[in-house]
Every structure is written in C-alpha cells, then in structure tokens.
Amino acid sequence: SSREHKLNFRRSKEACLSYIQDAMLQKQWKRAAEFLTFYIESLEKDYSREPIGPSEMIWRIGTEILCHYSHGNMKEFSCFIEQMKTLGIKRYLKVCLEDAFHLLCNGQIDEAYRNLSLAESWRYGEQTAIQDKEMKLVQAYRGLLDYCNWSKQKNILLEHGLDGFADLSVEQEMHRCFQNAAVNLKEIIKIPGVWDLFVKSYVDMLEFYGDHNEAHQVLNEYAYNSKFPANPNAHVYLYQFMKRHGESKKSLISALRILHDIVPSHELMIDFNTMLQKSKKWKKRRLGLEVIFAALDYAGWKENVKAWSCLARQVKQIVVSEKHLDWIKQEWNSRKDWWPAFHYSHYLAKRNWQENKSLSYEKALVAGILLGKDCKYLKYVSHQGCKAQLKKFRMLKKFVNRHNHVYLRIS
C-alpha cells in the first residue's frame, strides 16, 4: 500500500481518531488519552457539515477514557463534564443525563440529584423546546430519586413505628417526596416506552397510600395500551398487583394470557398452568395444557421438576378420565418428532437419574403416556427405580402398563 504523503488537517485528524479507536478497543487508555490530546484542536475547525462533530467525539471518547482511567477521580470527571456542557448546547441535556447516570453508578446520589435539579431549571431559547424529550427524562429521573428518598423515609418511619414513636417530620418529608416524585413519574409513563422502574416506583407509592384504583389503572395502561411496546414485565407487574389484592382467578388468568403469548417460557407459566388446570371451564384447562407444553419446549425448562410435575399431573388426569385425549394428541403432534431427542435421550436418562430422581419420575410418567411402555427412557428409569426399591417407580410401571391402550390411541 502506498503511503499517502499528502497530509492536511482533516487527514491527520482522521488518522488521529483511528489511533484513538484502536487504543480504546485494546483498552490502552493512556495511549488513547495521548492521541486525544492531539485531536482536541479539531474544535477550532468548522465541521458543521459532518454528521458527528468533534465536540461530540471528544465528549464520548473523553468520557470513556475518564471512566476507565481517571483513577477514580470524580473531580476530574466533573470538571470535564462541565466543559462538555458548554461545548454543545444542542446536547446539553443529554450530557446532563449521562453525567447523572455516571454519578449514580458511583453512588453519588445527592450529587446526581443536584445536577438533575439544575438541569431542570435550564432554559435556552428554542433549544428548550427542541430538547423537550430529554427534559422529560431529566424530570423523570429526578422523580425517581425523589422516590428513593421517599423509600428511605418510609423505612425510617416503619422502624420508628415499631418503637411506638410517630415522627411527624419524617412523615411530612415523605409526603413531600411523594408529591415531587408522583408529578414527574406520572408524566413520563404517559409517553409510550419502556418505563419499568418508573412504573414500579409510582405504583409502590400509590399502594402505600392506599390509592389502589389509580395504581390498577396505571398498570392496566402500561400493559394494555397498544401504543406502548410489547413488554412482558408490564403484565407481570399487573399480575403481581392483582394477586396482592386478591383479585379473582378470572382477572389473574387474563393478566397472564398475554404474557404466555409474548414469553411462553416465562417462569410464571407454572402459576398460570396451575390456575388453569383447576378451572371448571374446559377451554381454560385446554389452555393450561398448551401453556405447560409450550414452556417445556424451552431448554431452560428441561430440568424443572415443578414444570414436569404440572404436565404429569394434567396428563395423568386426562388419561385416567379418558376424556379429551385428543388434546394430548394435538399437543403431541407437533412435538413427537423432536421431543424424544430433546428430553428423552439415553444420555439424559442417565443424567436425570443421577442428579434428580424426582425429575426422572415425572418425566418418565409423561414419557409413558406419550411414548408408550416401550420407551427407552421409561424403561431405564423404572428399572433403576425398582432396583433401588423405590415404591413409586413400581407404581409408575404398573400405571403405564395399565393405560397403554391410551398411548396407542394417542400415537
């Protein structure tokens, strides 16, 4: 490659940037800082046509370097950030936000709170309107910190409450924090987005003050408003809230229904299946079967005894009643090609037996029904079980033999 001997301002700064980039990728912070020193004068040149200007580069690169290399010197960092704030007015609030995050990561909550408050009071002509979104975030995070304060006060109050002392000033402080927090948190969760932490905090406060209606409404909005992105957590929060407040099974089930659609492998699927199995309506029981089969499609559930026991219980119940055998057939249809290798390999038979006998039992029971009495997994496990003189494995063998005709009808 021929070396380009022509050198001008732009080319030398491009080269400088690539040295900085290389150094950062290799975590050579000192070297990156060295080259950054030579890049800085780019600020004195007009780069307004470029998509990313030197001021933004310096802010981002400088932040990285200082995070990793300033030897924990927060003063150094804040001095740098203050300069970055004046450098790019169009990014002012963004820089404030990132600064606040950095302070929070370093445990400087009060400092972060102060900075966010300052940022909230910032006004700069038309920029204020342009940076409206960032301003909302600033207010939201300040609200979150207000919630943290509230939480602290609440703990103090509860402690004192146990001692029998009622601290009026603490209560007042708490209430003040609540009001500050509520105003801002309420605003941000109106905007479509993912606001898990904000929603949880707001609901926590509302619940404490007994405003269950408002809390329920907030959670409903968060879960069901189609403008918001699909968020499994929203449904989990709603479910947990309703469970806490003793809502009907019907409501609980409808809360988990969408969760099953979005995240069929969610850990709450066990609760879901348990509720559905007990239902009097056959449609719900049918759904329950679907839910538990779907969960066990996922590798993370392979060794979950609870899940297998749910499936085993339901399948056993169906087999014994000989009603709705077609349900099992339907579920098994799309799985018969791969579940044997996935769950019932010879290797797994040995391993499951070694590690968890309960797991083996439940799996074997299901195997007996889905794959028949000649299933190798079942044979191995029941053989081992009988050898170990475990009664339930003898029972298992008997059960499968007795209901083998069901298997023949399913397959």
Binding site: S1, S2, R3, E4, H5, K6, L7, N8, F9, S12, A15, C16, S18, Y19, K30, R31, A33, E34, F35, L36, T37, F38, I40, E41, L43, E44, I58, G62, I65, L66, Y69, S70, E76, C79, F80, Q83, T86, L87
Partner: protein, 403 residues
Amino acid sequence: ESTSAYSGSVDGSLYAMKNQKGKLRMTMPMTLSFCYMALLWSREPITLSELLRFVVEGHIPYLNVFQHFPEKMQLCGLDLKIFCVESWPVYEEVYNKMLELAVFLDLPRFPDITDSCFLHPDMLCMKYLMEANLPDELHTWTCRVVKKVGIGNVDFLTLVPGNKSTRKVKYDVLAAAVIVVVLKLLFLLDDRYEWLLSDFAEERNKNNKEGGPYFEFKKWYKVIKQSLDVKQKKMDEERAKCLWRCDKPLFYSVKNKSKVLKKRQMVVNLQNQFGKLSGSAQRAEKPNPSSFQLSWSEENTDGCCFHGHSLKGVLQEKCGLLTAMNPDYWLCTVKLCNEKLCGHLAHYREVDFPQSYHFVLRLFSFLLRIQPSYIHDEVCMIEHKLFNKKLYKKLKYNTVLRK
C-alpha cells in the same frame, strides 16, 4: 486606512476573486518554491525533499508563521486564506511552482550543475547509498549508469527556465531511481533471483576468511526492513499527532475574536487535562535538523552495516571486466506514457510488481517523503534511455531482456 474592511492587507481581497490563468499568486507553498529556487541557484547542498522534510520537522518556519509577525501586522478576514496553513507542502506542487516562478522572473540559465556539485547524481547517489546501508562498491555502478544514460551531463542537469524541450530534473528522485536501476541490474529483483544469489553469497561467506564479507541481499533486507518499519510506524504516529493551531489564533473579524479566544482557552484546558492523564504534558525538545534519517556505523559489531561489504558475490569477470552475474533485466514498462497528457510516464500499482522492487521503492519513498510512483516514473525514464537501442529492435511482447 488602506487596509480593506475584510482584510488586514492591501490586496487581500484580490485573493477572493478567481485567479486569472497564468497569473501567479503568492502562497505559503510558493514561499518554499522561492527558497528552493534560491538554493538551487546558489547550488547549496540541499535537495527539495530535504527542504520539505525540514519544514515538516519544524526547523523552517511555515506553520503558524504569523506568530512571528510584528504587532502592527494584523491578519484578519481574507488574509486567513493565505496564512492559515492546514496542509503540508507537496513536492510536485512546490517544484512546479518553482519552474513557473523562474519563468515569471525571467531568469536566465541557472549556474551549472557540474560533477563536483552536491546535486549531481554521482554525489547524491553516494549519499543515498550510505543512507540506504548499501555497499560503497555500488557507487561505481551508479556512475556507470549515469554516464551511459547521459544524465550526468551538465546541460541535462542545469535548469533553463522556459525551455520546454528539456525534461526538468528532480535531483533527489533521479539519484534514487539510478540506485533502483543498479539494484535491478545486479539483483534482478524478481522475487526469486535476488534470494538465490543471496544464498549463494552466504555459502561463499562461510569460506571467506580474507577481506570483507560478501554482500548478502537477505541480510540487508532484514536489517533495512526492521529499521524502516520502526521509522515508518513512528512517522505515521507523528502525522496523527500533528498540531496545526497555535496559541495565537487567527480570527476572521473583531466580532468573532472573543469567541475564538474562548474556544482556544477550552482547547488548551482539555489538552492539559488529557495531556496530564497520559503523561505527555510537554513534547520533547526538537532534535537538530539532520541530513541523514538513517545512519549506519561500521563500528557496530553486530554486522548491521553493509557499507564495506563486497559485491564479489554477485559479480563475475569477463574479458578483464567485472560484470553482473545476472544476465537478465525486466522493464518496468514497455511503453512510456505521454507525460504532458496524463502527468506521468507510468502508472505504478504495487500489485503489478515484484515485492522486492516495491520494497526498494518503499525505502526511497520514505527517505524522500514522496510517493513510490514518482521514483517509479524516473526508473522508467532511465531504463528507456539505457535500453534504447534494444527497445527499438525488438521483442515487443517479451519484456525480459538479455543484456
């Protein structure tokens, strides 16, 4: 005041207008053309590539030279276009402007460049051979080529401004090209022969007890490559660390003076902050200008200096004369391009040529701070003069010649 509102100079506003063809305007690069012209006239022992290297190394004021102007000379507005330097001077540009300048000033034939001048290829070849760590014995060969091709001729070498028929001579590039041609003559440089020859010399060196060792291309290549890679890497980093602005910034008008100064203050603050962090607070003192970028000492016992090595390993006696063992030669190009049309005699692409050839070009490209293609052009020119007769007879499609 005779200064215009948007410029501190009398005629600064003229520079805003489009330049008429043929008219020369003074620019910063042109000041170097002036210097070089004067140096050439005085036949000083300095080449254009050296002059430009000294500029880049900071020994000659060029970047931010206005710092040294007297207080009264206030630059503003359009003057900035002239004095704000944001690129290093380019050899071709400075050279061509020098020619234009000589014509513009109506200068007569320059003082003769004779064989006792520094700029004569015989002299420059000696310098470059030393710097390239090549055997002194090669100098006989460079002189032979220079003589054969007629480029040692005083009329060829001396500049006559306005004379369109003679090819203008770039002394440094020419000397480097001569050395490249000599290396091709002796070592072929086809990525095979030079290594075979080197192995042969190595064998002979084992039994060689008397006199200097035979020159081994392989050893030389290793030594040079290592040095070159280190220096090149350093140079590349230096280029990335180039600082273009200074503490006395320029500003377009009084209106944006405070803005500019504020920005400068911030730049200085940030530079200090990160400079301290990286421990590179103050740059090391500039070393004195040196004529040699690479130096090799025969006193070193590590065998890294090849000046005294003998070429006997690659030569043979024929009819009382020492000739090269290598019987072949390959031309860089069979047909030369029309320089007036496309500006070059040939178009160099690294992939089209042997790696050894590229290595040698790379070496001189580094020393002279110019593109390898410029040296390649001169090599083509010399080869065509050297093999003139054979080219006319010939084998159009067979580019390997028997000497």
